[in-house]
């Protein structure tokens, strides 16, 4: 049964009508770290429905001290090993007032298939962790490489605020259908990653 108000269809077939104005940022799914797994994986829900997918990670806490937080992408099959070229820089400021703004050649990727670092040397003190946002553009395209950008803020193990910027592309024309987050070693003790679609 449809519900029509003033000549406008509001609901039909169990859903809001597509003509009804609503938010353009749609929550899709959420994963929660509980210390039992090394990865948090969005294995479904990444389709052609949205032009941009946004992943917001909040208070990701490593079980092991001084580990990197990483991301990788699935471009067919079951493995998260899409070829990537990325750039990486950070701005850091320590509690001891040390500072740096630098490109980090050891944390970028040049046509590699391994996991891309998106936060570095994260502390596992009880009140530390990493939060940030990853944008993935048009993952379902079979024409273009897949551009992505990430910015994160972490507390490093040596009590340093670390602002990390990663830009790059999955150098494949196959659709990206899965995204996997992981620590470089050890489990994800706690934290939430939410996936949104942008109209």
């Amino acid at each position: 049964m449809a519900l029509i108000s003033n000549g406008t269809t509001m609901f039909d077939a169990g859903a809001l009508d597509s003509g009804i104005t609503k938010g353009a940022m749609t929550f899709i799914s959420k994963l929660t770290g509980d210390g039992s797994t090394t990865t948090l994986t969005f294995a479904s829900g990444i389709t052609s429905t949205y032009k941009e997918y946004v992943f917001i990670f909040t208070n990701i806490h490593p079980q092991t001290d001084d580990k990197n937080f990483t991301v990788n992408f699935r471009d067919g099959g079951t493995n998260y090993d899409a070829m990537k070229t990325t750039s990486y820089f950070h701005a850091v400021h320590g509690e001891d007032d040390s500072t740096s703004l630098a490109y980090i050649t050891g944390h970028d990727t040049a046509q590699g298939t391994g996991a891309q670092i998106i936060a570095e040397g994260i502390s596992n003190d009880a009140d530390h962790g990493v939060s940030g946002i990853l944008h993935l553009y048009a993952p379902s395209s079979t024409t273009f490489v897949k551009q992505f950008m990430c910015r994160s803020q972490a507390t490093r193990h040596s009590d340093i605020a670390s602002d990390v910027h990663v830009g790059g592309y999955c150098n494949v024309t196959a659709a990206i259908t899965g995204v996997q987050f992981a620590m470089s070693s050890g489990n994800i003790d706690a934290g939430v990653i939410s996936m949104y679609g942008i109209a």
Binding site: S5, T21, S87, Y88, F89, H135, Y137, H165, N171, I198
Partner: protein, 216 residues
């Protein structure tokens, strides 16, 4: 017919009631390039809203692909009632880049690409490649464009493929992460924005205008 639940109006007169929570990011307009010389959002035209309805506007670029190889992408603005997309802008731009063969990799200011109280195209990318799989994606955030008190700040972040086999790099592809911040140095309201490549048309791609609600 309205629908009232527990004393609260949920919908009436063909629309959700304003009191019903919805997302605060609203898609206003989608433009799709088809060998377009420019793509523009003009308040009041073609269902575009670019006024004091929203305090913050976000413009997203999805796989913007140039017809001409090795050309920069940029934007300009118009104040309300003005013409010619030639507002005075001062901006910064820096890049983080890496080539597919790992060299060069660098973080650097791009002092040659900025505007200093100038009215030309505000470039928000380095030259973009136009191989079949190369394009630019990202976003620009424009703050309070309807203000008649403040100049207008903007922040842009894009990532794109740098052209292969250009004169100043070797034959490999390259990722370019470009950060552009600046301000439109006018107290007049801004109600139009235009995007284009320095040379050649926008062959394909999508540009979307969003309004962010509940922001001053």
């Amino acid at each position: 017919m309205g629908v009232i639940s527990n004393g609260t109006t949920l919908l009436d007169a063909g629309a959700l009631d304003s009191g019903v929570p919805t997302g605060k990011l609203t898609l206003i307009k989608t433009l799709t390039a088809s060998s377009s010389s420019t793509l523009s959002f003009i308040d009041g035209a073609a269902s575009v809203v670019l006024d004091d309805t929203y305090g913050v506007y976000i413009i997203k670029f999805i796989n913007v692909h140039p017809q001409t190889n090795d050309t920069q992408f940029g934007m300009q603005f118009n104040a309300a009632g003005a013409a010619d997309f030639n507002e005075t802008i001062t901006n910064t731009i820096f890049k983080s880049r890496q080539e597919e063969d790992a060299s060069p990799a660098e973080l650097a200011l791009d002092v040659g690409g900025v505007l200093s109280q100038a009215t030309g195209l505000c470039k928000i990318s380095h030259p973009v490649g136009n191989l079949a799989n190369e394009a630019l994606s990202g976003h620009v955030t424009l703050y309070n464009p309807s203000s008649t008190t403040f100049l207008k700040n903007f922040i842009s972040v894009v990532n794109h493929s740098y052209p292969s086999a250009t004169a100043d790099v070797d034959a490999n592809g390259q990722t370019m992460n470009i950060f552009t911040n600046g301000y439109i140095n006018t107290a007049s309201a801004i109600d139009e924005v235009k995007f284009q490549f320095v040379s050649g048309n926008i062959e394909s791609g999508t540009i979307q205008l969003f309004g962010l609600g509940a922001s001053a």
